[in-house]
């Protein structure tokens, strides 16, 4: 190859066709900057299409999952937030949350449930049946 005893001949050959340094830089720069990407266009288009389709499906799914099954309950702080239903035959009672307590007005007094039992500090929101057991004060 380029080692002795042929080194001199090889050097003569290389010198005979030595390119201009500016031409070398120009060739390298153009190859790096202007390499056409003919075959890259199709995969790119397909990739964009697949991404868009996945995003659309995910959006539709998220909307369907987040939509409530029934009518929207009233605000948690409003008196109509909770209906405490008596399971025994009789009229339904309405209550409301205030300061972390469920207050159900009855004829002469109120039923106040402080704390939230097993569900943590927050009283239950929305509609449902509240079973009350204990003394009325």
């Amino acid at each position: 190859m380029t080692t002795e005893p042929h080194g001199d001949l090889d050097r003569q050959l290389r010198d005979a066709f030595a390119p201009e340094p500016a031409a070398v830089a120009r060739v390298a720069d153009r190859a790096l900057e202007e390499a056409p990407r003919r075959r890259a266009s199709w995969p790119a288009i397909v990739g964009i299409g697949v991404t868009a389709a996945v995003a659309l499906l995910a959006g539709v799914l998220a909307i369907r999952v987040s939509r409530p099954a029934g009518p929207e309950p009233a605000g948690a702080d409003s008196p109509a937030a909770v209906e405490a239903l008596d399971t025994r035959p009789g009229p339904a009672l309405s209550g409301f949350f205030t300061g972390g307590a469920l207050v159900v007005p009855v004829s002469d007094t109120d039923i106040v449930i402080i704390g939230a039992g097993e569900r943590g500090e927050r009283p239950p929101d929305g509609f449902g049946i509240v079973l009350v057991e204990g003394e009325l004060r």
Binding site: A16, F17, A18, E20, A23, V24, R26, L32, R37, A40
Partner: protein, 163 residues
């Protein structure tokens, strides 16, 4: 080595080979640029090839052959290898020096197959195995061809010097 470093390392070798193979600086520049751009495309799409230089020179050789064939339709090979017409450029002035002129002329006189072996191995500085692969030869057959090519080139240079 990264893509940028590889391209800059290969650029002078590919350009030198392409100029020698086509006999024309401008045509050689086109061939070298197309070959390097092909490597850039391949690298960006599929990662680096097993041998970047083998990849580039395989393309450069094919394109240079096509370019040289197109040129031969118009100009005899002897004129291609001694072509210095037109406005003198720094490149043209450099290669017009007597010694370089003599080497180019001697190279043009040896058989095409021998010349191609020397261009790949000596001018492009491609490895023996890669050069052999590019020419579709075994390593031992390639070495024999290079040995013969060097003897012929040396003889041509000596004859030229004697005259």
């Amino acid at each position: 080595m990264d893509l940028d470093g590889t391209i800059r390392e290969l650029a002078p070798r590919v350009l030198r080979y392409a100029i020698a193979r086509t006999g024309d600086a401008s045509l050689g520049e086109d061939v070298a640029q197309e070959s390097l751009a092909a490597l850039v495309r391949h690298w960006r799409q599929n990662g680096p090839p097993a041998s970047a230089e083998a990849f580039v020179f395989a393309i450069a050789r094919r394109r240079a052959v096509r370019a040289a064939v197109r040129r031969r339709l118009w100009v005899p090979i002897e004129l291609i290898f001694n072509r210095h017409d037109g406005a003198p450029t720094p490149e043209g002035r450099a290669v017009a020096r007597d010694e370089q002129e003599r080497v180019r002329a001697a190279l043009a006189r040896i058989p095409r197959r021998d010349r191609e072996a020397l261009l790949l191995l000596s001018v492009a500085e491609l490895g023996t195995a890669e050069s052999a692969t590019a020419l579709g030869l075994s390593v031992s057959a390639f070495k024999m061809r290079v040995h013969r090519a060097r003897k012929r080139l040396a003889a041509e240079l000596e004859d030229d010097h004697d005259h």
